[in-house]
Amino acid sequence: MYNSILHTLQSQQGAIIKATEQHISISLLSLLIAMLIAIPLAILLKDHHKIAEACLQVAGIIQTIPSLAILGLLIPIVGIGTVPAVIALVLYAIMPMFQNTYAGLTEIAPNLEEAATAFGLTKWKKLQRLELPLAMPMILSGIRISLVMIIGTATLAALIGGGGLGTFILTGIQSNNNTYVIIGAILSAILAFFFSWLLKFISTNTHRMRIGLVAILILICGFGGYKGYQAIRPAPTKVVIAGKMGSEPDILIHMYKDLIQQEDPRAEVTLKPNFGGTTFLFKALQSNQIDIYPEFTGTVNQQIIKTNQKTGSDPQKTYRLAKRELEQRYQMRYLKPMQYQNGYALVVSSQFAKEHHLTKMSQLASYNNEITAGFDPDFYQLHDGYPGLKGPYGYDFKNVKTMEPTIRYKAIANNRVNVVDGYTTDPQIPQYHLKMLKDDRHFFPPYQGAPLMKESFAKHNPKVVKALNKLSGKVTTEEMQQMNYDVTVKKESAAKVAHRYLVQHHLLHK
């Protein structure tokens, strides 16, 4: 475990640093906005107890809404990405700061307030010389509570494509990779500790506090200036490429990036790996949140255009159907697919295969009574899955369990089941020495990956289209399996694996 963490830290260094930076910038931005709302509000309301109480109630109610729900509610309003994440975090952070500031200001001894009033101090002077300094410890502790909470909650930003350390946790959960989960969790904990300590350190004396304030101001000005500079600079081609969960989409989008940048060196390509599921990504594409994502032909037919029938077994036909429907219904351009097929497959343990000399799926029906299968819930229900297999192959397995995709490989590796469904490019197949059976009756629909984008985007960016078309017909199933293996099991970074492939196959001149 320790070694795999070290290895991942090394191979994913760039991604980790980037995610940490993202995490910090989302957190600090949210904190800053929340401070600018909560503290002045508390100052304004300190003499209006009823309104302040009402505000506290509202803030308290917001606090009780699960963060996941807030994120969900925000998607239809502001879309996905950093903006809804920051909004949700701000909503959360307001309460502790408002409450503490308000309490700090209202708990000042009445005789001091009376003295200040009797001396003829203006409201501003009173605030500056008496109230704020006395409330400062409370305010700072409110800020600290908020900050720690924000850094923790910011991990959820990954769910809606906001990036940050949550991406690692999420990827780890999805791909059953504890190393990622641990790295994400530990880093966010360290961040929380560090910033909490830093605030405490700064707040222990006024001198440090002044230095701290100046440093924060400089940072904000610098950041604002940088953003401003970016805004006025002539805009280069900006391309946002997203991918689904897992290593394979991650490798593919890195390939896209390399190819696009070779074609147009000024292009600014942003990658959003592990961005979400099919429906989510497709909606993101429709609403221009992203420009490109790799999609499979079979998935298009089953989940997007919903043909509601078993997909044909001819890859060409499948692609043409998907392309035509996407064009007509959604004005999207579906580029030519790569060679490999990432379709369903039935996988058996090598021991079971040896015992019965299994190589083809048609052989399996003879052992119906010996089979305990572990299937993904989708596979168990879809026309393209187990129900469809029963006819052509005559399957009627003795025992069929549904289990989460990540668990079924563990189950077969530990001999809990002897048949599972899988994808042809799954790295676990070589990892656990499993045997993939040949679909000798051509039942499974072809799932070929190809870049999907809006027609309007394709028209405006011919260079991008040209770059991506270079992948058409490339990458075999074995090559993809190997690359997945390199990323998931050997913990190499997707960027490195993608780059290596492109160079080896002379798609990239570097």
Partner: protein
């Protein structure tokens, strides 16, 4: 200079002041005295409009208080509260100069003024100017509270039971300080207290209040010699012959000594009665009285002479 004209105040239908009228002359140390709940603080706070009368008016230099610009009025009025109420986050000199700061006086002048005032009350600016309030004793804090009220050279200073939380010795010292400062600056002071001894000691004029009704206004002797009501008579009864132990000892009866002289008997005294009961039971011509603060050598004969002299003065 200041005139309360048929002033009344009710809080949620309960009258706390009823038809109070009196005048304060320039340079007066005007004491408002009465038991708690008599409305004296309410009267005081009407001057700087911390409270507003429900009826009647307060005039200052012929103009209604309510017609003054509130901030200007308060900036030019000193205020001393019951507790010192120094701002705990500011050092002593910033505390003293807070009104000057609001007036826009520059920092150097403010600190100069603060240090000048500290010297005037025997607090070395080198030591005290940069200290924080919690590093000072209660008496020192209230001393600063008093000079803070003087910083802006106000014409009127309001003092709301400033010494009630202090022990008798410190209270005595600070009373002296107020008398001295008032003599030097000729500032008009309105002073609220529930302690008639303090009222008699400080007041050039005293107003006695009870249950929101003004009982009598007059010089201390008038109040004692010709009490206007039964309450005033009761209130001040015997108090002119009330002996404060430290008072008597400091006023020359005793001889303060630094080191304990072992051959003389030592008597611990907290009040004057302790001293008298010792003399009743013992015949030693000379002994040492030990109070919380000091030790004094006492000759019994001096004590009796002193008492006889005081009694003769009274009659």
């Amino acid at each position: 200079m200041i005139k309360y004209d048929h002033v009344a105040k009710t809080y949620t239908d309960i009258p706390v002041l009823k038809d109070v009228s009196f005048e304060i002359n320039r340079g007066d140390l005007f004491v408002l005295v009465g038991p708690s709940g008599s409305g004296k603080t309410t009267l005081l706070k009407m001057f700087n409009r911390l409270t507003v009368p429900t009826d009647g008016d307060v005039y200052y230099q012929g103009k209604k208080i309510k017609d003054y610009d509130l901030q200007q009025l308060r900036l030019k009025t000193g205020y001393v509260l019951q507790e010192s109420s120094l701002f705990p986050n500011l050092n002593i000199q910033d505390n003293i100069a807070i009104q000057l700061e609001q007036q826009g006086v520059d920092k150097e002048q403010r600190h100069h003024r603060a240090q000048e005032l500290l010297r005037a009350v025997e607090m070395d600016p080198q030591i005290y100017a940069r200290r924080m309030p919690n590093e000072l004793s209660g008496g020192e804090q209230q001393r600063v509270g008093i000079i803070r009220a003087l910083a802006a050279k106000p014409e009127v200073i309001l003092m709301d039971e400033p010494f009630s939380a202090l022990d008798p010795v410190v209270r005595h010292q600070l009373q002296d300080l107020v008398l001295r400062l008032q003599k030097q600056t000729h500032t008009t002071i309105i002073f609220v207290t529930h302690d008639m001894q303090e009222a008699l000691r400080l007041g050039t004029k005293i107003a006695v209040l009870k249950d929101g009704i003004l009982q009598q206004v007059g010089m201390p002797q008038e109040i004692i010699n010709r009490p206007a009501t039964e309450f005033v008579k009761e209130f001040f009864h015997g108090h002119n012959f009330h002996f404060s132990l430290t008072d008597i000892l400091d006023n020359g009866l005793g001889e303060k000594i630094a080191i304990k002289q072992t051959d003389l008997p030592v008597v611990k005294c907290r009040q004057f009665a302790d001293l008298l009961s010792y003399c009743r039971d013992h015949d030693n011509p000379t002994f040492i009285v030990q109070t919380d603060q000091n030790q004094y050598v006492i000759h019994q004969s001096n004590l009796w002479n002193y008492l006889i002299r005081r009694e003769q003065e009274r009659v």
